[in-house]
């Protein structure tokens, strides 16, 4: 019994009590896990799961420009990422409204332009190591500035999300009803995209621009297999994201693996397990449902 406790302590608690960088990484990861998954749930419900990915690519040139202008400064890189992300979202939205083309095609075009610009900017100034850092982040190198940034973004996101929650739900469900009520759906949509860019920017330091979207989407898509209610989806997605963050962090510490991919892979594993044996729509749930009527049919046959 004592051995078990010692082992558990060595695996779960000791890394956190021994190292300040681990504590900071955990707090940062948990804070990100509080705000990003609800956004992921709405992205998923709006059929925009890949838009998060596009936006993650879109913030790259801003981050790169911040890096080129101010060196490895988190505020400069974050601000750059935020501006680039908002610019791409705004341009894509405007082009789609003006031309009547679907928003995803406009967004795909702009994020590709943005990504190419970003890669070019990074390669002009830095080495390939810098690019790797921007793309995949380093949660173990979080400093106080980064923690403040993440905490502020999380608080702001939760606050704004609470303010626009009802209108966002109605806009997802039935945009025409909202238009009929004189509410401009574009404004709600824009605010939502802004929140998403904000969270991707906050996540890039810890997880990298590409991995940040993983903590947003994977918990949401996994939760879909367990709950059919919006509150359930959001709550569950947050729990999954927190477990992934803490688990991934400890795994990377003990096995000497990069932290970002560890966190996302744990979330990915939870998704795969959910897809296989979740309560709603999973492989197992489908098999069970298919089996039920057959039994009923047999009963009917024998009784008749």
């Amino acid at each position: 019994m004592l051995d078990l406790l010692t082992t558990l302590n060595a695996w779960l608690i000791a890394p956190l009590t021994d190292y300040a960088f681990m504590r900071r990484a955990l707090v940062g990861g948990l804070a990100l896990s509080l705000a990003a998954p609800p956004l992921g749930v709405f992205l998923m419900l709006r059929g925009m799961s890949l838009v998060g990915d596009a936006m993650a690519h879109a913030v790259l040139p801003g981050v790169a420009l911040g890096f080129v202008l101010a060196g490895f400064s988190l505020p400069a890189m974050s601000l750059g990422g935020l501006v680039a992300g908002l610019l791409v979202a705004g341009l894509a939205g405007s082009v789609s409204r003006m031309t009547g083309h679907r928003e995803d095609s406009a967004m795909a075009s702009f994020y590709l332009i943005s990504l190419a610009l970003g890669v070019m900017l990074v390669s002009l100034r830095g080495s390939s190591v810098d690019l790797t850092h921007v793309l995949f982040g380093s949660i173990l190198a979080i400093d106080d500035t980064a923690l403040w940034l993440i905490a502020s973004v999380t608080s702001a996101t939760l606050l704004v999300l609470a303010l626009i929650f009802r209108v966002l739900v109605v806009e997802c469900l039935d945009p025409l009803f909202l238009r009929g009520q004189g509410i401009r759906g574009g404004l709600v949509h824009g605010t939502f995209l802004g929140l998403m860019v904000l969270n991707l920017t906050a996540g890039f330091q810890t997880l990298g621009t590409l991995m940040a979207v993983g903590l947003m989407m994977l918990p949401a898509t996994a939760a879909r297999f367990w709950s059919q209610r919006l509150e359930g989806l959001i709550g569950l997605a947050i729990v999954i994201a927190m477990l992934s963050s803490a688990g991934g962090l400890l795994l990377s510490y003990h096995l000497g693996l990069p932290s970002g991919p560890c966190i996302i892979l744990i979330a990915g594993t939870i998704y795969l397990v959910s897809a296989l044996c979740g309560r709603h729509g999973s492989l197992l749930a489908r098999l069970r449902r298919r089996a039920a009527p057959l039994e009923k049919n047999e009963d009917t046959c024998t009784s008749s």
Partner: protein
């Protein structure tokens, strides 16, 4: 009395003029049927009345506040995979009074249960939208407009793909709403429903509109209407000069 008037309205969509010089008055408490072939401009006119489409010329005079106008579109933009229950959908009808922030109170729930009972939706309050039949969904949506306490109700082919039980409930409810003084406009293709519901008819054809008496339309088109009632093709192919205009409007 009337709170909705069209004044020499000309409407265009996608660079094409759809309706020209449409005038008329929708009486309070009356059910008006909008009748016309596919592409005659019924949905365009509804959009203009809802204030979602600016006219090329002319005006829609509507003294009813925007939040009291309800529209049930034909192919609804409702996302059925969205995790929401019937109860939650109906409560969104409280938007005009509750907006984004106000909490739903006991009165709202009491009103909702009354509406659900009236529409035969009792027992379905917690059913997810994705599990409803076409008829149940249509009743839930009408329930939302009842929660909205709409003064102007626009319905685009509300009886398409719904069961007869739902048709009965919808017809009775629409008549009740009208009797309480609301203006109801319904796009109809089926002559039987027109005979049952419509107090007056606005006929759209060839880019023009004409007010006609329901009886006149029924007399002239009863037979063809029955023959083509279940086909895809529009079965009311009318030329306006064929039908004498109604003197009232």
């Amino acid at each position: 009395m009337s709170r909705l008037t069209l004044d020499k309205l000309t409407l265009a969509q996608g660079g094409r003029t759809v309706l020209e010089d449409v005038s008329g008055t929708f009486e309070d408490g009356a059910i008006t049927a909008l009748v016309g072939a596919n592409g005659a401009g019924k949905s365009t006119l509804i959009q203009a009345i809802m204030g979602l489409l600016s006219p090329l010329s002319g005006q829609v005079h509507c003294s009813m506040p925007k939040e009291r106008r309800a529209w049930l579109p034909q192919q609804l933009a409702l996302d059925l995979t969205f995790p929401m229950s019937v109860e939650e959908l109906m409560l969104t009808g409280r938007w005009p009074t509750h907006g984004t922030f106000k909490r739903y109170g006991p009165d709202d729930y009491r009103h909702m249960h009354g509406v659900m009972q009236r529409l035969g939706l009792s027992g379905l309050a917690h059913r997810p939208l994705g599990e409803l039949s076409g008829g149940q969904r249509q009743r839930a949506l009408l329930g939302r407009t009842l929660m909205q306490e709409a003064e102007l109700l626009l319905l685009d082919e509300p009886f398409a793909n719904v069961d007869t039980h739902t048709v009965e409930i919808l017809c009775d409810t629409l008549r009740d709403i009208a009797n309480q003084g609301a203006t109801v406009i319904v796009v109809l293709h089926d002559m039987e429903q027109l005979a049952r519901l419509a107090d007056c008819v606005l006929l759209l054809a060839g880019g023009h509109a004409q007010w006609v008496e329901p009886e006149t339309l029924l007399e002239r088109h009863h037979a063809p209407a029955r023959r083509h009632a279940h086909t895809q093709a529009p079965f009311i192919s009318l030329n306006l000069p064929d039908v004498p205009p109604c003197s009232t409007y």
